[in-house]
């Protein structure tokens, strides 16, 4: 891995199922809080052990989903394009996310009030291109605006299965030109667009997609996911990645997993704009 990865997480002190805004959530099926805390600590430990610097956002009572920091913003260089949540239940998170990012050196940007956008949950770089999920949470028009602002190609992908309401639940860039995805979450146009722009696409099967296989944290060659994705891990090993499984079932109850619990502050490994440092030299952009 190049320069140390920086990851934003938020401890699950106030995490729980307090409302239902996706098909995973059921207030009758509560989380076991101590288990959730332990699962979160394990994930933090794994990522820290892999060399990432973990930074922490303070949890806030009444904002149970603040733990899913991936939805705070889209990070692009030193800019943070902050989220505008579709659901009122999560809109309270916006100010806390923006305040932390501003306090930590990011230029905070927002979209107009009527544009829903849910950050890295729906906008993921693979190479030079930003892939962007819409319809469930973010709007296609928001992605049009983001594209204009950052000057990168943005490929909007319609999400058609409510269980995969964020793009990061069904699509995971692994490195430039390589990504994993669950085909059932997209329509024909989306599948075709992905196929045309990403040369190596790993298809995740239905059961493992349900275990949040695609919601993975990529750090160099390591790919950390929830447990219950053995076949996906075999697929990863076959192309040289080193998968790690850690139980995150308590967060799946809210519709999130490893990736949702993290926000990569220095840019995802698969983003070609990221400045990488190798042997004292820095270069911008990975080669195709």
């Amino acid at each position: 891995m190049s320069e140390q990865a920086r990851i934003l997480m938020c401890s699950p002190d106030f995490y729980g199922i307090e409302y239902e805004i996706n098909p995973w959530m059921n207030t009758q099926r509560q989380t076991e809080h101590p288990v959730a805390v332990s699962q979160w600590n394990d994930l933090r430990q794994i990522l820290g052990d892999l060399g990432a610097a973990i930074e922490l956002l303070s949890p806030v009572a009444g904002l149970p989903d603040l733990v899913f920091t991936a939805n705070a913003a889209l990070i692009y260089r030193d800019r943070a394009i902050c989220s505008r949540f579709r659901h009122a239940q999560r809109q309270g998170e916006e100010q806390h996310d923006a305040a932390w990012l501003a306090a930590h050196g990011f230029t905070v940007e927002t979209l107009p009030d009527d544009h829903f956008f849910e950050g890295a949950g729906d906008a993921l770089f693979c190479g030079d291109t930003l892939f962007a999920g819409y319809r469930m949470r973010s709007q296609a028009t928001s992605h049009q605006l983001v594209a204009k602002r950052i000057g990168h190609r943005v490929i909007p992908l319609e999400l058609v299965d409510p269980y995969y309401y964020h793009l990061d639940t069904c699509f995971c860039p692994l490195r430039t030109g390589i990504a994993a995805y669950y085909p059932g979450a997209f329509d024909d146009y989306g599948r075709q667009a992905l196929g045309e722009h990403i040369p190596t696409l790993i298809e995740v099967d239905k059961d493992e997609a349900r275990s949040f296989a695609c919601n993975a944290v990529v750090l160099g060659e390591t790919v950390t996911t929830n447990t219950g994705c053995p076949f996906f891990h075999e697929q990863l090993r076959a192309i040289g990645f080193a998968p790690i499984a850690t139980p995150l079932g308590e967060f799946v109850k809210a519709g999130g997993s490893a990736k949702c619990l993290t926000l990569r502050l220095d840019g995802e490994d698969a983003a070609s704009w990221r400045v990488q440092h190798v042997d004292g030299f820095s270069y911008e952009g990975a080669t195709e």
């Binding site: 709007q139 028009t141 594209a147 490929i155 909007p156 992908l157 146009y189």
Partner: protein
């Protein structure tokens, strides 16, 4: 509210972004057709590099307003948003004969303005005007700068205004073979036959035909062709200047046009005075109509106009001799009267006049078919340059054109 055309309801939407790479554009277009609508891509700008977004402006049409609403809701999810979701902005005219600053300047294309959420079709469509809205009467129409009255509500800015360009397809024009608007190198016989067919069809359909003519019609010896057209119902209105009428009357009274004997081609002694003597005689009689009624004017274009109840309008210019009493010397007044008399015209044949052709072209909405015949290609080019895109131009001498036209029509007219 969407607009209602004769056939269907339509609304323009815009889509931006990497709409080709993401297949969003084909997806939107598919969604429209799958739902039972149709679309026209009005404008499409493809990004030059992979980072550049593309842009498409698409007009969505559906047979019912409800279906259109369903389609618009569906495609808006994919980022296709209506071009106009606001009312037009109105400002009260604060000075007669002027527009407010920032006024919307019209085209000659069919235009609609949104008032209280409803699209109103703009009446009296004309280029280079403003749009006055009477919200109480739910009415909007084009207004010339000079005709603005104090307190009228005028549209400013582009918001809440939409324009529906005419299709420029050759088939809708009836001039299938003429791909270029100006043709110097096309077979004239085919072109003339098509003009003849258009005139014939217009007459059969009871449509009104306007001829805008210059004095070359008389100089080239085409008076007989013109009078045939008038007598046989191919002319409902004639717009010209002082010269056409003066030389036509000169010929009727003296047999000359600008002193040249039209039968022999000889220059008649003191012939240059003939047109002045003709004008003077008509002025003494009190006008062209009076000259016909008193038996002083017995032939020619103006004579046939009076005899066949063809409404003629003569607009003056600064170099006019006389002029004839019917000539309207106030150009603004002439413009106003031309506007009024253009409203029911559906076909316009412009023959050998630059000044009047351009003047009328400026006043006509884009859906009126225009054929411009001139020996000088620049007349047609000027018309097109000034926005009268619908003009089909024939670069040819007037006399052979009219002779062939009349011969064609004579075969079709019982």
């Amino acid at each position: 509210m969407p607009s209602k055309t004769a056939r269907e309801f339509s609304e323009a939407v815009e889509i931006r972004g990497h709409i080709i790479d993401s297949l969003i554009l084909p997806k939107v277009l598919d969604a429209i057709t799958v739902a039972g609508g149709s679309f026209t891509i009005e404008n499409f700008v493809v990004g030059q590099t992979r980072h550049d977004p593309s842009f498409a402006r698409v007009v969505v049409a559906a047979p019912t307003a409800d279906l259109l609403a369903v389609i618009l809701a569906t495609i808006s999810d994919h980022g296709a948003s209506p071009v106009t979701s606001q009312d037009c902005q109105l400002v009260s005219a604060d000075l007669s004969g002027t527009f407010p600053e920032g006024f919307y300047s019209t085209t000659n294309q069919r235009t609609e303005v949104r008032v209280d959420g409803t699209w109103l079709e703009v009446g009296r469509q004309e280029m280079d005007c403003g749009i006055v809205v009477d919200a109480a009467r739910n009415e909007a129409h084009c207004v010339a700068m000079t005709d603005v009255d104090l307190g009228q509500q005028l549209v400013v800015g582009h918001g809440g205004v939409r324009v529906h360009p005419e299709e420029r397809s050759q088939t809708s024009h009836g001039f299938e073979f003429m791909n270029s608007a100006v043709s110097t190198e096309k077979p004239k016989g085919v072109a003339t036959a098509q003009v003849a067919k258009q005139l014939h069809d217009a007459r059969i359909a009871g449509q009104k035909i306007l001829i805008v003519g210059g004095p070359a019609i008389v100089h080239t010896g085409s008076v007989d062709h013109m009078t045939w057209l008038i007598r046989n119902g191919y002319v409902q209105r004639l717009f010209a200047g002082n010269a056409l009428a003066a030389h036509d009357i000169e010929q009727a009274m003296y047999g000359t046009s600008l002193g040249v004997h039209l039968k022999s081609g000889d220059i008649v002694e003191a012939g240059h005075e003939h047109h002045l003597r003709a004008i003077n005689r008509v002025r003494r009689l009190g006008g062209i109509r009076r000259a016909v009624e008193t038996g002083q004017l017995n032939s020619g274009i103006m004579y046939e106009c009076v005899k066949n109840d063809v409404d003629f309008l003569l607009a003056g210019s600064i170099r006019d001799d006389g002029p004839l009493p019917e000539v309207i010397a106030d150009t603004l007044e002439a413009q106003r009267r031309m506007r009024e008399r253009l409203r029911d015209i559906s076909f316009c044949l412009m023959i050998a006049t630059t000044l009047h052709s351009i003047a009328v072209g400026n006043l006509l909405p884009a859906w009126v078919r225009v054929v411009c015949v001139d020996i000088n290609p620049s007349t047609v080019i000027k018309l097109s340059d000034r926005g009268s895109f619908q003009t089909v131009g024939l670069v040819t001498d007037v006399e052979p054109f009219l002779r062939a036209l009349v011969a064609d029509l004579a075969r079709q007219t019982p």
